[in-house]
Amino acid sequence: MMPRITMDEVLRVAHLARLEFDDTEIEVFTYHLGEILDYIGKLNELDTTDVPPTSHVLPVCNVIKTDKAWDSYAREVVLENAPSAEEGHFKVPKVID
């Protein structure tokens, strides 16, 4: 049987999620993720021809708020959570755009 997920795929997903693993970890995760996919794969045994796609697990629709503005948080409070801040801004390593 084809493995459900390859090491390359795991590496790629890890890269997209900005996660770094060593070779052993990648091997372990590939194995674990494969097992999870096997388990979920059971669902494929069901005939879902007449079942509409589910886009949310809650049987609730149309949750909305009125368009009224409230006070925002004070800037000092907001910037307390910043890894680095200067002159009222969040400070991050230079990005070129």
Partner: protein, 481 residues
């Protein structure tokens, strides 16, 4: 442009919606506030917070979609678009991929007297990102600075079909979309403030081919001038690549305004791996068809229809209609003037001419203009009755514009009433002839061009108040017998 190739352009237009509060939280939407003073845990993407949709943003999205002739499906949901960038605090943007609020629309507009129709794939709703600041903050050479005031402002994305065949057509399309959004009042569309921006998809194909060539995407353009420049550059660049036997690479580009060139932006291997999935923090939406019909019937007359009606009802030229219906407020103002004065052509001339010039000079908008349609109509009736000349009316309009006083009281207070008394004018004409014997003789000897000079002198002597028609008649009578 090389005529071997056909240009294919499609635009993705982003417009910020003119709501009071943000899309998923209660922070105020406003331009120009101090950095990071309009944020809260929701728009900063703190763990554990839950977004709730702003009902007006939903209504504006549907309204815009209807004005762009879209279908509104009965069921919609949001999706999560995953990517890392410092202006995106959650690490994902809440957007719509599958089941957007609208699809399959179109826009019609005229370009050089020709009717164009461009398909709209979809109009969907998403949150705006924060803003990266590279200048104006100290030490900005090594670091970037982030202002999250813009984070989570409601944004509609209008995805257009690749139906545009030239940069000029793309500009006309974008203008048409902007006008429509302004007419239906869902966005202020201030491009300098980034409220209206476009991504440009450009490709070339051999003329006659029905397959599309490889396209490039120029991101985040917010002025018509740079959109035109970027499109023209990109079309030329791709033509050269193809001419030299190369192939265009699919990539995301940025336009360098100063150098006038496009440049590759980010690693394309990653660029399109957004791993969309249904947004678990927001429940789906069932859109009530009765509500949609209500919104449809509440739509105002749209620019194209209004221009056609202005031409039909008032006998205006296409140029007049184009200018007067550029905004809904301008067209409303014009029609109010016509209904008060009954002078369609005169109103068009004054609104397009002197009034627009005054608005441009002062940077005012017509809806706040102190010279009201009633003022303008009164002024026109003073011209019609001969009480003031057209030339004096220019002064009157300027004073109405700056003071908000009505035409009649300005004319009376400033002594601007036209002089139509023949004896009074004849006396002034005698003075002018006496002091300018040369030109007077010229006229007597049949060199009629000189009459203009003499008329001018009479007008000058009366500060423009003499009735020009009478001056002309009397001068001719006196000199030519």
């Amino acid at each position: 442009m090389n005529s071997k190739y056909e240009t294919v352009i499609g635009l993705e237009i982003h417009a910020e919606l003119a709501t009071e509060s943000k899309l998923f939280c209660r922070c105020k939407v406003g331009f120009g506030a101090e950095a990071n003073t309009q944020t809260c845990p929701i728009c900063l993407g703190m763990p554990g917070v839950l977004p709730v949709l702003n009902e007006r943003a939903l209504e504006y999205t549907i309204r815009a979609a209807l004005a762009l002739n879209c279908e509104i499906p009965p069921y919609s949901k949001f999706d999560r678009k995953n990517y890392f960038y410092p202006d995106l605090p959650k690490g994902y943007q809440i957007s719509q991929l599958h089941l957007p609020f609208s699809q399959n629309g179109y826009v019609e507009f005229d370009l050089e007297r020709e009717r164009k129709k461009v398909g709209i794939t979809r109009v969907h709703l998403e949150e705006d990102a924060g803003k990266l600041v590279h200048t104006g903050v100290s030490n900005s050479s090594n670091m970037s600075y982030v202002d999250f005031n813009r984070s989570c402002i409601p944004l509609i994305e209008i995805v257009g079909e690749p139906d545009l065949r030239s940069p000029a057509e793309a500009i006309a399309y974008m203008r048409a979309v902007k006008e429509i959004l302004e007419y239906v009042g869902v966005s202020h569309c201030n491009m300098e403030q980034g409220q209206l921006r476009a991504d440009l998809n450009v490709s070339l194909r051999p003329r006659g081919s029905s397959e599309y060539g490889t396209r490039t995407e120029v991101k985040n353009m917010n002025s018509f001038r740079s959109i035109l420049a970027a499109l023209e550059y990109e079309v030329e660049r791709q033509a050269q690549v193809l001419d030299s036997g190369g192939s265009v690479e699919q990539e995301t580009l940025l336009f360098d305004e100063e150098r006038g060139i496009t440049m590759s932006m980010r690693n394309k291997e990653e660029a399109h791996d957004y791993r969309y999935f249904p947004e678990p923090d927001l429940v789906p939406f069932e859109i009530d068809a009765t509500w949609v019909e209500q919104l449809r019937s509440d739509l105002p007359e749209l620019p194209l229809q209004r221009r056609e009606r202005l031409q039909r009802e008032y006998g205006l030229s296409a140029d007049d209609a184009l200018a007067l219906a550029a905004t809904r407020q301008m067209a409303d103002y014009y029609e109010a003037c016509v209904s008060l004065s009954g002078q369609a052509k005169e109103c068009a001339n004054w609104v397009r001419g002197d009034l627009s010039a005054l608005l441009n000079e002062t940077g005012q908008t017509i809806e706040l203009c102190r010279a009201t349609p009633q003022h303008l109509a009164d002024m026109l009736s003073l011209i019609q009755s001969g009480a003031i000349s057209g030339k004096i009316a220019k002064t009157v309009l300027e004073k109405m514009f700056h003071t908000g006083r009505d035409a009649k009281s300005i004319v009376e207070a400033e002594g601007l009433t036209q002089i139509s008394d023949e004896d009074q004018i004849a006396a002034i004409i005698d003075d002018v002839i006496d002091s300018h014997p040369g030109p007077a003789d010229d006229v007597r000897n049949g060199r009629l061009k000189a009459i203009g000079f003499l008329v001018g002198q009479v007008m000058k002597a009366t500060q423009g108040k003499a009735n020009p028609r009478l001056v002309n008649e009397l001068l001719r009578a006196k000199l030519l017998g």
